[in-house]
């Protein structure tokens, strides 16, 4: 092994190697300095939680310290800065969506270990493997359409082992392959876009409709919701795949040989096993549970946990399999994101932002567009449901005084809050795909920013030409 000796000045080498430490020191002192400022127009708790919010966003996006450690830091800063007592803060961490995500990791492991995902993979590959574009699109459209009937993160969990198997079959390396990036982003974005279409795709839509009824006294049905979502989603669905395909044009991979290999592998598969049958039954029960009782009783997370328990009872997986499959960084990150978002919504920090807007200068049309823009921005940092919980009550109250159509306003905020294209922490399905390591934060920023801008444009189009007719 050779050795290279860098003879540049030591101070330069020291700064180059330990620059992260100095940046962290800078951030720390800036944070302390800003804490000492006495805010006006906002409570001390609202101001401090805003600072924690900004600090966390900076640390998560720059990775100056490990993501999981930043997440744990949030649990210290909130009680440490007297924003909320420690008991309440930690109680928020143990929230339902977090355990849904945890159980989702376990379900994904079980689906993979049972061999079912391999069987399904090969059948999917057979249909969609004429070329890499068709392969990516088939994953995209599958994730998109399944998210009409199931929570988008559940769809991501189900399809993840299938996509992973495809990746392994094609022998795609982590980090270097455009095809790898395209496949996982197709899954992430397909589920995100599909998930905003109906009430079943994510908790935020049902929450938005509930808030509309509570604050505005207006009901909106499942079909009426589609009237708002379908035009918007249709435009996004088509452009979504085009954007990621154009950015991550996949490398040329011989698919004819792949098809031959797939047919050969299908022939070599063992007969359908009892474990695979049990896995299918448990997954069927899980989906049924999510659709029928996911919005009441034990909720989505409860159904997911029971599903995970059944996998252990029937011996599909062992605990060491689950340990390997759980992404603890993602787990802590999501828990803290929800904690921070919930604490944020309990202070007047959001109201402070809204009050900065001179409402006299804003037309109703523009106000709805701004709310949609704020929603799509905030959802990158906090959970979709928290964005709705935080923004919609303020938007509805303001909308009532401006004489705005509250259904349109609700649809705008709810739809846009579901579109966390840029940062993985914005939504579990994105985080689940990102945690595989096949695409990096720079990749999702590149494609996500374009899709965010397109989303705002499509919102403008639907508002101007479709919703207000």
């Amino acid at each position: 092994m050779g050795v290279v000796i860098d003879k540049r000045p030591l101070i330069f080498l020291f700064l180059q190697r330990y620059y992260k430490f100095f940046i962290l020191i800078g951030i720390f002192f800036s944070f302390i300095y800003l804490l000492k400022i006495k805010p006006e127009g906002i409570s001390i708790e609202g101001y401090r939680v805003s600072l924690v919010f900004i600090l966390t966003a900076v640390l998560w996006s720059t990775n100056l310290i490990p993501t999981a450690i930043t997440s744990l830091l949030v649990l210290v800063l909130i009680p440490g800065l007297s924003i909320l007592p420690a008991k309440k803060t930690f109680a928020f961490f143990g929230n339902e969506p977090l355990f849904f995500v945890l159980s989702s990791f376990i379900i994904a492991v079980a689906t993979e270990k049972s061999g079912l995902s391999k069987r399904i993979t090969l059948l999917v590959l057979l249909k969609g493997s004429k070329n890499t574009k068709k392969l990516a699109f088939s994953i995209y459209i599958t994730g998109f359409s399944m998210s009409f009937f199931m929570p988008e993160h559940a769809v991501a969990v189900l399809l993840l082992p299938i996509v992973k198997n495809i990746i392994e079959t094609l022998k795609i390396d982590k980090g270097n392959s455009n095809l790898g990036k395209l496949l996982f982003l197709s899954l992430a974005y397909g589920t995100i876009i599909g998930g905003i279409t109906t009430f079943l795709g994510g908790a935020r839509n049902a929450l938005a409709v509930g808030l509309l009824e509570e604050i505005g006294g207006i009901k909106i049905s499942f079909i009426e919701w589609l009237k708002y979502s379908v035009p918007f989603v249709s435009m996004l669905f088509l452009s979504g795949f085009c954007v990621i395909y154009l950015i991550f044009k996949p490398e040329k991979i011989e698919t004819e040989e792949l098809l031959k290999e797939i047919r050969r592998k299908i022939e070599m598969l063992p007969p359908f096993t009892f474990t695979e049958l049990i896995t299918i039954l448990i997954i069927f029960l899980t989906i049924t549970g999510w659709v029928l009782i996911g919005h009441k009783g034990i909720g989505l997370a409860g159904v997911a946990i029971l599903s995970a328990v059944l996998f252990f009872i029937f011996g599909v997986i062992e605990w060491k399999d689950a340990e390997r499959g759980i992404n603890w960084s993602a787990f802590f990150m999501y828990g803290s994101a929800i904690t921070l978002g919930t604490v944020y919504s309990q202070t007047d920090a959001g109201l402070f932002l809204i009050n900065k807007i001179d409402l006299n200068r804003i037309t109703p049309f523009f106000f709805i567009l701004i709310m949609g823009g704020i929603a799509i921005f905030l959802t990158e940092f906090i959970s979709n449901a928290t964005v709705v919980a935080l923004l919609l009550p303020i938007a509805l109250k303001t909308g009532m005084s401006l004489g705005i159509d509250l259904k349109i306003l609700t649809a705008s905020v709810a739809l846009m809050s579901g579109l966390a294209f840029v940062l993985p922490i914005g939504t579990p399905s994105h985080l689940i795909c990102y945690s595989t390591g096949y695409y990096g934060i720079k990749d999702s920023i590149k494609s996500g920013l374009i899709l965010n801008l397109l989303s705002i444009f499509f919102l403008y189009i639907t508002l101007k030409y479709l919703w207000t007719r």
Binding site: G2, V3, I5, D6, L10, S329, P424, G437
Partner: protein, 172 residues
């Protein structure tokens, strides 16, 4: 192979055929950090992996390493020795080597001296100037020595890049 223990240092003479493992065990048996300020290694063999590993293991005990090669085929060997923790190289035996050439390719952290007799190098002016605590007798000498060794290790870490080294980043 021979190993001599004095009041302030340990002298080890090795060649390619030496049993490095056994020598290291003998070293460990006699080494006392408070007493022994340096390890003087005289090496007359070819530069195989064993000598680098041996040097690295000696360095792990936080001690100055004075290395005296009796033969050398290229400066890359000395660079690797520096990477493994050598602080001082005695070049007197390398009669045909251009010292200026060595100086150009080795960092200034490494001291090149000419005195080859055991402990005579302690009288070498440049060495005393750079590492005065090697001959100092005070209560604080071990502390000063430890700080100096840690600093030189940091400098080494900043300067040296082994080809094939990979960088990892934290996070997901």
């Amino acid at each position: 192979m021979s190993i001599k223990i004095s009041d302030i240092g340990i002298y080890i003479k090795l060649n390619s055929n030496s049993k490095f493992g056994s020598v290291y065990e003998i070293f460990l048996k006699h080494f006392n950090y408070k007493k022994h300020r340096y390890v003087h290694i005289v090496y007359s063999g070819n530069f195989l992996e064993e000598i680098y590993l041996f040097t690295e293991k000696i360095k792990a005990n936080s001690v100055f390493i004075i290395f005296e090669p009796l033969i050398i085929d290229n400066v890359e060997n000395l660079k690797r020795l520096y990477a493994k923790g050598v602080d001082i190289i005695i070049v007197d035996a390398l009669k045909n080597v251009n010292i200026k050439y060595l100086r150009e390719h080795l960092p200034e952290d490494i001291l090149l001296i000419k005195e080859k007799k055991e402990e005579e190098f302690l009288a070498y002016e440049k060495l005393i100037k750079r590492y005065p605590f090697l001959i100092e007798n005070s209560f604080f000498e071990p502390i000063k020595r430890k700080i100096w060794i840690d600093l030189t290790n940091l400098r080494r870490k900043l300067r040296v890049k082994e080809i094939g080294e990979s960088y990892t980043s934290s996070g997901i």
